[in-house]
Symmetry: C2
Subunit: 124 residues, 2 copies
């Protein structure tokens, strides 16, 4: 069966940002102990460290808006995703541009999780 990587990426991205925007501590379930996050150059490791980083970001409300993700399969059964979009935090009028690259992997039970996560703001 060939991997429908675009469908998996699209579904993942929708789930990721809707979880991020509603209650970001629930993102913990999308990472594993060996997952990596680079957020604006700062590195966090593992589901717990990554969730602590994401929940400590200094805003209360956030909304991501993004275009269709681009996805490619990797040589080892993973999926690379690149998303670009804008986010609006709290009551700021001006959205912030961002880019985010993910590599998804499957765990032993076949569930997709985030192995690599790199987030960068894009200054407009």
């Amino acid at each position: 069966m060939s991997l429908d990587f675009t469908a998996i990426a699209t579904q993942f991205v929708a789930h990721y940002y809707s979880t991020f925007d509603s209650d970001r501590k629930n993102l913990a379930g999308l990472y594993r102990d060996n997952s990596m996050l680079t957020f604006e150059g700062a590195q966090s490791l593992g589901a717990q460290g990554i969730t602590e980083k994401l929940t400590s970001l200094p805003f209360q409300k956030v909304k991501h808006e993004y275009g269709p993700p681009d996805a490619q399969p990797t040589a080892t059964g993973g999926i690379i995703i690149l998303v670009t979009g804008q986010l609006i935090v709290d009551d700021e009028q001006r959205p912030l541009g961002y880019s985010q690259a993910f590599q998804l992997s499957q765990d032993a039970s076949g569930q997709w999780f985030v192995f690599n996560d790199i987030f960068k703001l894009v200054l407009l």
Copy 2:
């Protein structure tokens, strides 16, 4: 020996864009037959297909300017890189924002090559 993925990523990115900006047909050596490019949503496969795509882009001169790349190791010995920057084509006054994600892999001789390449313009 631990992988100095940040140094490899930084060196790769400098080489990649300097080659792109001077004579982009020479990028062929950085891809392999199973490499993938998604350029503004259009997919190309293999060093030859990718080089044809890159050399057919409708500009004569191009210059990339970019910040320090972010990099992470993958579970299988590769390196994921995210770059954001601006490019100036021909005599346009206004730079175009872009984001580009790479996965580098090593071939049997230990040489790094681009397995995954996703390029997106970021509309400012």
